[in-house]
Symmetry: C2
Subunit: 216 residues, 2 copies
């Protein structure tokens, strides 16, 4: 296969993906659904952040589509809390794409306006390349991952609309360098706010919720 | 493009990759080089583990090929310690592949028998799919990522020859469930040993080094 043909194929895939993502975003938007694409490394705390946000917005309707390579661990956790959640298992695929998500938005029972979280595969690289129908991208990054992450994985930080720095209770144990982290974020993204949170005791989530209310 | 043709292309890519990986492994093996493919999530502690192993084997020659999407942060860290290291920047690509690694093994000055670490891109998904010329795969997983990682990202755990559980000093702060983690690992991989380490104070690395000496 000549390289020019390869590029064409890749471009076609992205274009088709973006077309479907726009379709999903618009059709859900018409129903009063605000879609948040939640991205981050394995174990950054994506599900815990979703749960904390939901707890801080008791007046809102929520829907969650959980993306994982395998397992239903997070979906079970959400369902136990009475949250309307369904699971996508990608069986090896490293990111969610728009056609897959569109299928699952038809399977989850969306009957009232509200917020739909789509938790992407735990991966700080590939998910940032694909729109899936979201209104905003929420990036979850934990202090335990180290303060150099914006420098090493720039695209996810560049594309984020809001950034949650999680596990802030661990800062002192992992020598987290706040200045270095924030300088890295600002070099890539001048607009996205960075909220420091602790999902264990709920610290910082009221500010996150205020931001979502203002920006939806 | 018909789906059957798509599958053929993907299969060709894997086959060509594996052919080159075998070539690299054999040609480095003849020079007395033992190649370790170091995999793990962003911020799991891959570079810190490499440094701790090197410190515990003063009699050995070491070479490091550092894979990152962007930045030279880790290579600079290694060079400051006098370690022979070069950087691969993949500019967005989410894993290392055999052709890229083969190129860089020609650029690093390998003049004596020893150990070559190839630090893969921080990603618990894609790197597990590609051989790059390694004799063994070393999986680095941090307690801060949570004890459910084997269930959610099975392939990396299945393919590992040795597993290092890092940041064990954080266990009590992150409610790490040892039994759940080890049960998950053993369900996928009956052979790979799991070593608990702490890269901050060097705990656990003598046992890792003993294992490498026995298994190289």
């Amino acid at each position: 296969m000549a390289s020019i043909e390869k590029i064409d194929v890749v471009q076609d895939i992205y274009e088709e993906n973006d077309r479907i993502a726009l379709e999903t975003k618009e059709s859900l938007g018409k129903k009063g659904i605000f879609v948040i694409n939640v991205m981050g490394s394995p174990g950054a705390g994506k599900t815990s952040c979703i749960i904390n946000i939901i707890k801080n917005m008791p007046e809102e309707n929520f829907y969650v589509i959980e993306g994982d390579i395998e397992s239903e661990i997070d979906t079970m956790k959400l369902k136990e809390l009475g949250i309307n959640a369904i699971q996508i298992n990608t069986n090896g695929v490293c990111h969610l794409d728009a056609p897959t998500v569109q299928n699952y938005t038809k399977k989850i029972n969306i009957d009232k306006p509200g917020i739909l979280f789509i938790e992407n595969i735990g991966n700080l690289v590939c998910p940032a390349e694909f729109q899936i129908g979201e209104h905003i991208k929420m990036l979850i990054c934990s202090t335990a991952e180290g303060s150099d992450k914006p420098y090493k994985y720039p695209l996810a930080f560049e594309k984020a609309n809001i950034i949650l720095l999680t596990k802030c209770d661990l800062k002192e144990f992992v020598d987290f360098d706040d200045d270095f982290f924030r300088k890295g974020v600002r070099g890539l993204n001048r607009k996205a706010p960075v909220f420091e949170v602790n999902a264990k005791n709920g610290e910082g989530f009221r500010e996150v919720v205020e931001w979502i209310k203002k920006n939806r």
